[in-house]
């Protein structure tokens, strides 16, 4: 099969399991973002794909070939490190030429390829500069160009944009995605920034505690999170407990909600409702009721905080559909099946 | 790069040469010295193998007790003088412009690298009657006539402080560079004068460093083997001088070795003390 396949990959450091039984298939040419809080095992997984760490169990296949034990330098990768790892003793051009030089490519080919890559990253004419004289964004691009110099089979990036300021980071995300689509190269990015993952990825892999919690397209992850961790980690959400009685009537925070059904056979579940999906109505009328405690008007959006039996529910709306409520007012929160994602407890 | 334990025999290869060199030419000589300390002296030659305690028994005398006491006292005096001089100096140095720092560091390293022979010669010249500092005082009319300032205890002390001062500064330098400058700034905003801030904030914050440095300089001063001989009288000789004297001029290597082993034990005891002091400091 063309692409990357991880089979039951395990990594233990002593008694600590950093990566637990990971199964993942990355078809050729896709852009995957591995997303999760720090310590979730995403970087360790990337390092195993690169061969910088060896798995303690399972196998890694690239284009049908088992590369689990192949040393890093024979994997033909391109990798961008969090620290960028540009060689301080080499110029921009020498940095980019490095993978070609150690493969003993002819001097003219090296020179031509460096020119090509520099123009691709909009840094033509920078070949002879020392890397210390570059700005953060320029260093970032040089690291990317260097990793792509040999047209690798696999392009790996470990938190590549974390050192940049917010504005530049957003611009680079777009640039990186466009570059990847142009080259059609299989790309794996590790990040803890969900916005970054949503911007760039074909597939987002959400990890926690060394395990993959969900692997799907960004919109799928957002719309249909697999569990409450994913729902909470990706974007903002309201997580509310729901209960069903023996005949399937559902109540939320002690108030009956007709028309809602939990998973078959489950007496308890967690509902995830995105703030922009929370619809405020008059009290009663198929809605649970609560009290408005605070209204935050941010200009572009308005957040309304509603207290329902001690739980806080946040509703977000645009100025156009601003809810006509004031602090202390009783309101209803509509919980219709189309906006509630029912998650297993 | 993740550091990994060596996987194959080949991974140990780089260690081979250094390990062999250090073992053969440091560990073995050290062992030889310990062995020799139990040997018997042979008149006119080096020594004959034996196993006697005579060499150790010999310095259990009032004379060697006196020498040991003087050596320790001398080293303590040098260490205290050096710290008192070097601490404010190094503190101010670390707060100076970088290029000024570099010039001073070059100067200090140059003095530190000077041979004890050269330091001894330079100070004996400075303290001499014909070319010494007293000639300047005479020229200024402060003194009637030039005189020699060596041999004397003060001359030995001065020479040894001169030798150990750059070492003290270089030992203190890293700790003082890392000292958070906002500490003194905070003290200043709270109303402390610069001098008061130095004594109430910098000195207490560096208590462990000062103790460790004191011990290191003490050991350094214990090692001085020529200055007491060049600048002092025989009663100013230290254990290091005596060891050299016994080994070279009296050709009594077993006795010299026994004294050296003793000196090592004293030194190691002090290093252990430093470590314990450091631990305690960390715990506090």
């Amino acid at each position: 099969m063309s692409g990357l396949a991880l089979q039951n990959v395990v990594k233990e450091f002593g008694s600590f399991t950093a990566v637990n039984n990971v199964e993942l298939t990355v078809p050729h040419g896709t852009f995957v973002c591995m997303l999760g809080p720090s310590g979730c095992g995403k970087t360790t997984l990337l390092r195993m794909i690169a061969g910088l760490d060896l798995p303690t169990g399972g196998a890694i296949h690239l284009d049908g070939e088992d590369i689990t034990r192949v040393p890093t330098h024979k994997r033909n990768l391109g990798m961008v490190f969090q620290s960028l790892a540009l060689f301080p003793h080499l110029t921009v051009g020498e940095n980019i030429a490095y993978p070609l030089r150690i493969r003993n490519a002819p001097k003219e080919d090296q020179k031509r390829r460096v020119e090509e890559l520099l123009s691709m990253i909009h840094l033509s004419g920078y070949a002879d500069r020392p890397v210390s004289k570059l700005s953060g964004g320029q260093r970032q691009r040089v690291a990317i160009a260097r990793a792509l110099a040999i047209s690798p089979k696999l392009f790996l990036l470990d938190e590549p944009l974390s050192a940049l300021d917010a504005k530049l980071r957003e611009a680079m995300q777009v640039e990186l995605r466009q570059l990847q689509q142009k080259l059609g190269i299989t790309t794996i990015v590790v990040t803890h920034d969900q916005r970054e993952a949503m911007t760039m990825a074909d597939t987002v892999v959400v990890m926690n505690g060394g395990e993959i919690r969900q692997a799907a397209s960004p919109i799928e992850i957002y719309r249909r999170p697999a569990d409450s961790f994913v729902a909470d980690f990706i974007g903002q959400t309201n997580l509310i407990e729901a209960e069903a009685d023996s005949v399937g009537h559902v109540s939320v925070l002690g108030q009956p909600v007709p028309g809602l059904a939990l998973l078959p056979g489950a007496a308890k579940a967690t509902l995830s409702i995105r703030p922009e999906d929370v619809h405020l109505t008059a009290p009663g009328a198929g809605a649970i009721s609560g009290t408005v405690t605070f209204v935050r008007d941010l200009g572009g959006t308005i957040e309304t905080f509603v207290d329902v039996a001690g739980r806080q529910i946040v509703a977000v709306s645009t100025p156009r559909e601003r809810p006509d409520v004031t602090v202390g007012q009783q309101v209803g929160v509509a919980l219709t099946p189309d906006v509630c994602v029912v998650l297993r407890k | 790069m993740r550091r990994e334990p060596p996987q194959t025999i080949g991974d140990y290869a780089p260690l081979l040469f250094p390990a062999a060199m250090l073992t053969i030419f440091f560990v073995v000589p050290f062992g030889t010295m310990i062995a020799v300390s139990f040997f018997q002296r042979q008149q006119g030659g080096f020594y004959t193998p034996a196993f006697v305690y005579d060499n150790y028994a010999r310095f259990l005398s009032a004379f060697f007790g006196g020498v040991l006491g003087f050596s320790l006292m001398m080293a303590i005096a040098v260490a205290i003088c050096c710290i008192v001089l070097a601490l404010p100096f190094t503190y101010m140095l670390t707060r100076m412009a970088r290029n000024v720092q570099v010039v001073w560091l070059v100067a200090l390293l140059s003095v530190l690298s000077l041979s004890e022979v050269i330091i001894g010669f330079a100070w004996s010249t400075l303290f001499s009657r014909t070319a010494g500092i007293t000639n300047i005082l005479v020229a200024l009319g402060l003194m009637g006539e030039a005189k020699a300032l060596t041999p004397s205890f003060a001359a030995v002390l001065t020479g040894m402080v001169y030798q150990a001062f750059p070492y003290t500064v270089l030992v203190l330098f890293p700790a003082l560079v890392r000292l958070d400058p906002t500490l003194t700034e905070a003290a200043r905003t709270l109303g402390a004068s610069p001098l008061k801030a130095f004594f109430t904030v910098v000195v207490p914050a560096l208590r462990n460093t000062i103790v460790a440095t004191l011990i290191m300089v003490f050991i350094f001063a214990l090692g001085s083997y020529l200055l007491p001989q060049l600048l002092g009288r025989p009663q100013h000789w230290t254990l290091s001088v005596l060891i050299t004297d016994q080994a070279i001029y009296q050709s009594n290597m077993p006795f010299a070795a026994a004294m050296a082993v003793f000196l090592v034990l004293v030194t190691l005891g002090l290093v252990a003390l430093t470590v314990i002091a450091g631990r305690k400091g960390e715990a506090a």
Binding site: - | Q101, L105, S115, Y225, A247
Partner: protein
């Protein structure tokens, strides 16, 4: 500290450090073979003497040869050791780090006496090459410390980056590690060289009766009377040390080499 106090204090320290050297420099330009200060007359002949008088010239050559070789050997011992300790996890190998630092930390008489008994027992006492080995062991601490510091300053991700780009261990060492550690090799060599040039006791105990290095020559001269050449050699030594450390500072980061880890430490 007020600025006037600081200037005065620094002036006193500078005076203390420089005064003996100023007097020696003054003595070294005396016209006649007398120990006099302020100098009487002016002559640079005592500097010429170092190179023209065969005894002094031989001692100078012996010292330089000894320093060049022993510093090289010290680096040769320290480099693989420091590299191994940086590259591998082998806690027991730290014993060699300790052994490398010990000769310089212990009172020098002890190392000197240990080597003396060793060479005497092994039957090589007095042979010139034993001085090279002795100095290399005695000063291995200096390159070991500078190289250990140098290695810790190399970002390990540079090595990983090189291997992802196709470099094997040997290539990584040649193309990444070596160029980055080179300044530390040079300064480690420089430290060992200057100290070996000045070293007296170890050289004296190992080869003192068969060979004269400059410090031994000065000491012997000191015992048998005074000659201004001692003064000119002293000045030559101080100048050499200052020039070499000046070069280290010019081409390297001296404060960092001396343990001030971050150059933005102030």
């Amino acid at each position: 500290m007020t600025s006037i106090f600081r200037k005065f204090y620094f002036f006193l320290i500078a005076l203390f450090l420089a005064l003996p050297l100023i007097v020696v420099a003054g003595v070294s330009i005396n016209e006649k073979q007398t120990l006099a200060f302020p100098p009487q007359g002016f002559s640079t002949s005592w500097y010429g003497e170092i190179f023209l008088n065969p005894e002094w010239r031989n001692a100078l050559m012996a010292s330089i040869t000894l320093a060049v070789l022993s510093a090289a050997l010290a680096v040769a011992i320290a480099l693989p050791l420091a590299w191994f300790l940086w590259r591998r996890v082998a806690p027991w190998a730290n014993i060699f780090q300790l052994l490398g630092v010990a000769p310089f930390t212990l009172p020098p008489v002890i190392t000197a006496l240990g080597l003396l008994t060793f060479w005497a027992t092994a039957g090589f006492y007095g042979q010139p090459w034993t001085a090279v080995v002795s100095h290399a062991i005695f000063f291995v601490t200096l390159p070991l410390v500078t190289l250990s510091l140098g290695f810790t300053s190399i970002d390990r991700s540079l090595v990983e980056a090189a291997s992802t780009m196709g470099a094997d261990e040997r290539t990584v060492f040649r193309t990444v590690v070596l160029p980055l550690i080179l300044p530390y090799i040079v300064s480690g060599y420089a430290f060992a060289f200057v100290l070996s040039l000045n070293e007296y006791i170890v050289a004296y105990m190992t080869v003192g009766f068969t060979m004269e290095t400059l410090p031994i020559k000065i000491f012997n001269a000191l015992r048998y009377g005074y000659t201004p050449t001692m003064a000119s050699v002293t000045i030559l030594f101080v100048t050499t040390a200052a020039v070499i450390f000046g070069l280290v500072a010019r081409f390297g980061d001296l404060p960092k080499l001396l343990g001030a880890m971050s150059s933005d430490g102030k």
